[in-house]
Amino acid sequence: MLALKNISYKYEGTTRTIFKDVNLEFSPGKVYTIVGKSGAGKSTLLALLSGLDVATGGEIVYNGENLAKINRNHYRARQMGMVFQSLNLIPTATALDNIVLSMNISGVGGNKTRALELLKTMGISPEKSRRKILKLSGGEQQRIAIARAIAHNPPLIVADEPTGNLDKETEGKVLKIFENIAHEQGKCVIIVTHSRRVTTIADEIWHVEKGIFRRFDGNVNAPQTQKRRRK
């Protein structure tokens, strides 16, 4: 469904090549986790996948179409849901408004009932849903960002460090939801994480280092980098 073909990338005005000739493929119905050192280029990859940034070489193909050539606004709005590392919620708007607005932008139409329900499954009460983002805790904000990414039911979900601020119990709930979306609803879920627990729901784990992606099979112990960074 989503494939990287010989992708290379370099930030404008820098000399360091972040990616060189990367080839990856993501399929529906699966959970992918991407792990790697801080600064390895995980967020950069997601920016490319979401069409917010354009690769300096190679192409990203979504359902047979080159991302560089299609209307990336539509792609972002309808085909994918993104959880940003920095969340990127509208701070002065309520949780509910953030989600309804995103649903509207995606074209499925703002549906308050669905949004409230979704927030509830994320552990956000209706009372909190009507609070401004500014007045919610980091963990609550993170769950709202996740709810926003999945509210319009996109076939592709991309999440950057979505459980960093969550306690064990909540993290478990959220992971269940991601798992369900991939395995029951047949969506493609790509998660960047430093958390070993997150990798437990993954169908494929990819480790990125020095611009090279290497796949782990499920039985191997977590890579060293991950151990060191574990909180």
Binding site: D53, R76, M82, N88, T92, L101, N104, I105, G110
Partner: protein, 467 residues
């Protein structure tokens, strides 16, 4: 539609910033409403006055100007009465009012302030060194009693009626009382500056007079009681002319020629010159009177215009700055929306919608409040300006010199007797509303376009990374 409802929500989300924008916009709209309505009302009044004073042409010998170019009284030229009538037939005119005044002498009654032994026996020495009798009254004739100066304000008929037929006249209460004259009595008068012209007039009305008896101090001090306005005997123009006048020698002709279009004054002048009007005569509107009447209004008009430009320019700059800062402040929000896939145009639409909503609210409020405060503000400003103008008039002391040449009189203050227009009626006209809408839209467009230009310069990723 969700863009609109989001825009409305955004207004509420950023209350203080939007309140600031609204206050500035409202101030601009209100200032524009007030100044434009005042300007319009003032311009309309000035136009009306121009239609009256500005189309009212007087043809008079200008002694002051004659003296300035070295001409004396002997150079005064006289115009046949028939010519004055002929001028009135010009196609440029819509109407003419014939007025004339002359000094008269009588011993059939005693003039007010005549303290001589027998009525009319006061004498003086004329330019030729001869002893002559001093005139006792002024006979005023008009073809249009309705247009008589001061009637309706300081004068009114208290007994009898206005003159209608030949040889009927009205006199002042003071003159009537002093001489025990009543309705139906007759008086006789002769022209002071033209031999053989005699009138026998029947008194048909008596008027109460609250005007100043003397138009200036000089006349009172010199015992020129003929110039006491209580000694004005008023009759029809026809009666006055029928006394036997051929030219205006000894007669003060004050014909008012009303142009159909004030612009045609030069054409009219050419026409009357061709009919033989001497060059010592001016063909002119009473500019001094026009200026005096419209002065405060015109001053208010130009002050309001200046004020509005200042408010508009300062307001536009303030608004531009606020919107510039506002959009920069909202850069992040814009980045989020763009990252979620909202097109640039839609983001711009949202921001424009916010400005337009603020502008629309300010427009309605501004029109309402501005309309409510325009009248008192206009009254206040005009009152001040009229007071200043009147102060100046009283300081210059009105008409200073009265010149005589063969019975013709001229003061050096042509605006004598005119007072500044002191009433202004403000109303919010459709034209003003449209102008205000245009101004508000321009302001909204200004702040909206600034926003749109700024947001379109940023890529969403850049905005989000800058956080």
């Amino acid at each position: 539609m969700y863009l609109l409802s989001n825009a409305i929500k955004n207004l509420e989300r950023n209350k203080s910033r939007n309140a600031l924008i609204a206050v500035v916009t409202l101030a601009i709209v209100m200032a524009a409403v007030v100044t434009l309505t005042i300007n319009n009302a003032a311009a309309r009044i000035i136009d009306t006055i121009r239609l009256d004073l500005g189309s009212r042409v007087e043809i008079r010998q200008d002694f002051i100007e004659m003296r300035q170019i070295g001409l004396g009284r002997d150079d005064a030229a006289f115009v046949p009465i028939a010519s004055f009538m002929q001028f009135a037939e010009s196609a440029y005119l819509r109407n003419s009012v014939f007025n004339a005044a002359m000094y008269a002498w009588s011993d059939s009654f005693r003039a007010v302030d005549d303290f001589s032994e027998t009525p009319g026996s006061t004498t003086r020495i004329n330019d030729n060194g001869e002893v002559v009798l001093v005139e006792t009254s002024r006979l005023v004739g008009t073809s249009e009693p309705a247009s008589l100066a001061d009637f309706g304000s300081f004068r009114e008929i208290s007994q009898g009626r206005m003159f209608e037929n030949l040889n009927e006249a009205i006199i002042s209460e003071e003159l009537a009382v002093q001489n025990a004259l009543t309705i139906g009595d007759t008086i006789t008068l002769s022209a002071a500056y033209s031999d053989g012209i005699v009138y026998t007039l029947e008194i048909v009305g008596i008027y109460a007079d609250r005007t100043e008896p003397y138009v200036n101090f000089f006349l009172a001090m010199n015992g020129r009681f003929a110039d006491n306005r209580r000694n004005e005997i008023i009759t029809s123009f026809d009666t006055l002319i029928a006394g036997g006048w051929q030219t205006n020698a000894g007669l003060d002709m004050q014909v008012e020629y009303f142009l159909a279009d004030p612009a045609n004054i030069t054409a009219f002048e050419a026409e009357v010159r061709a009919l033989g009007l001497p060059i010592t005569y001016n063909v002119a509107i009473n500019q001094a009177a026009f200026d005096r009447v419209t002065g405060p209004l015109a001053g208010m008009h130009s002050a309001a215009t200046t004020f509005m430009f200042i408010v508009l320019i300062l307001g536009a700059i303030t608004l531009a700055l606020i919107s510039y800062m506002a959009v920069r402040e909202r850069k992040y929000e814009v980045g989020v929306l763009r990252a979620m896939g909202l097109e640039r145009a839609k983001v711009a639409f949202g921001i424009l919608a916010e400005t337009v909503i603020i502008a629309a609210v300010c427009l309605i409020l501004g029109l309402g409040i501005g309309n409510a405060i325009s009248q008192p503000i206009a009254d206040f400003i005009l009152e001040g300006r009229v007071a200043t103008a009147n102060q100046e008039i009283s300081e210059t002391g009105g008409a200073n010199r009265v010149l005589f040449a063969g019975g013709q009189m001229q003061t050096d203050d042509a605006a004598q007797g005119y007072t500044p227009a002191s009433e202004i009626q403000i109303s919010l006209e459709v034209a003003v509303i449209l102008q205000i809408i245009a101004i508000t839209l321009a302001l909204a467009a200004l702040s909206g376009i600034i926003g749109v230009v700024i947001i379109s310069q940023y890529e969403p990723l850049k905005i989000l990374r800058e956080r």
